[in-house]
Symmetry: C2
Subunit: 236 residues, 2 copies
């Protein structure tokens, strides 16, 4: 049976980490709101299910419903052959994913430091201050950590963990794409200091299934409603 992904239809957002895993694996899935409209998500979130999700994205796999990107990928990883078989390796992939999730929160908060229920325009001065710290300190710290992981991978710097692609590689690619969209100037410098990560992102981009997905209409373009937004003043 096809997986069902419940997420907003107009943004990559957090759902994109799940889409990339499903696409790379060639797994059958329904991106529910893109077929049936956003009402399907709203109804789903208001369901009386005994295990209510807190927020999208959610994945339905048969009778199982899972929210939280990292939990979804923890579940999908072995099923899509995007996680190692060894338990310690699998936990390491998960740990990387959790740290990428932290980075995603901080990237989002560059444009919404005071909270998501105010418009960007209502918090632009604060966003300028938060983005400066993010660009100068936090982003290099996160990217430097990924670079170090590649550098230290005993199997070589081709992938983050072991010698095959995992969902952590796909997510690292998405983060590099998103940050490059949001902060093109800062990322040009940052990737010079993280050459292995830049190569990893290019390697993921060239995976046949990923490449086909990126070229398809299923890949929603980046836009200023998602997590990664291009406000040039925040990259300056």
């Amino acid at each position: 049976m096809a997986f069902e992904l419940y997420y907003w239809p107009d943004i990559q957002g957090r759902g994109e980490f799940v889409r990339l895993a499903l696409e790379q694996a060639g797994a059958p899935y329904v991106d529910v709101t893109r077929e049936r409209g956003v009402q399907a998500l709203l109804r789903f979130m208001e369901s009386e299910a005994p295990r209510p999700p807190f927020a999208p994205p959610c994945l339905r796999d048969g009778t199982l419903v899972i929210a939280q990107v990292a939990a979804i990928l923890l579940h999908l990883g072995p099923r899509l052959r995007l996680a190692p078989t060894d338990e310690a390796d699998r936990l390491w992939v998960h740990q990387i994913q959790l740290t990428l999730a932290d980075l995603v929160v901080e990237a989002h908060d560059t444009h919404h430091p005071l909270g998501a229920d105010l418009y960007y325009e209502e918090q632009e001065p604060e966003a300028l201050r938060r983005a400066k710290t993010f660009r100068e300190r936090r982003m290099p710290k996160f990217l430097g950590w990924l670079e170090r992981i590649l550098d230290r991978n005993p199997a070589g710097p081709e992938w983050l963990v072991g010698k095959s692609v995992t969902y952590a590689d796909l997510s690292a690619f998405q983060v590099v794409e998103g940050l490059s969209y949001a902060f093109p100037v800062a990322m040009t410098h940052a990737l010079k200091a993280a050459p292995r990560l830049a190569v990893l992102a290019a390697r993921v981009r060239a995976l046949p299934n990923v490449a086909a997905y990126l070229a398809s209409p299923r890949r929603i373009p980046f836009n200023n409603s998602g997590i990664f937004r291009r406000y040039p003043e925040l990259d300056d």
Copy 2:
């Protein structure tokens, strides 16, 4: 062999979620920096290990080193009998933990909306705005979700998942404690709307091992260096 926890010695912080699990299970552990000083953590973080942690807390279990609270608890859960045996149930506990981790980030950002490298005093006006949104919208949303989980647990509202205590219950307790320290006024109202959660927190507090821990010098008091801080102006 005893577990080793690497975390800051002067705050509860994120390490507290791990401490509570170890204490409730009566597991042997060394809180490394409290015995050997903070230098032990700094050296540990700078190690040349092939799998470098991004940030504390970290747990060492034999040769395995794990960072990220949710990953640590995912690993410890079955070993400490603080997770269900069924895989779907275990994923649900993990999903709750991940959502509590999101709440923790937002609680932290009430006093540091512009970033952790500026002092609170340098971002107090922004903190006032962010805290208002947090108190009025986000906190009730998170607590309401926990209340709903208790309400819908087919095994009854005693615990979040199934009919025994899991690490998610311990973490929910810690969040209620922390928010009650940081926002005593707002939490008095919020807990009236979440009576099952208030009872859960009291139930966890009364577990013999938890009660003994809380009464011991091992429990670091809340203070204004941790995640949950009491700035009365943010609760007004």
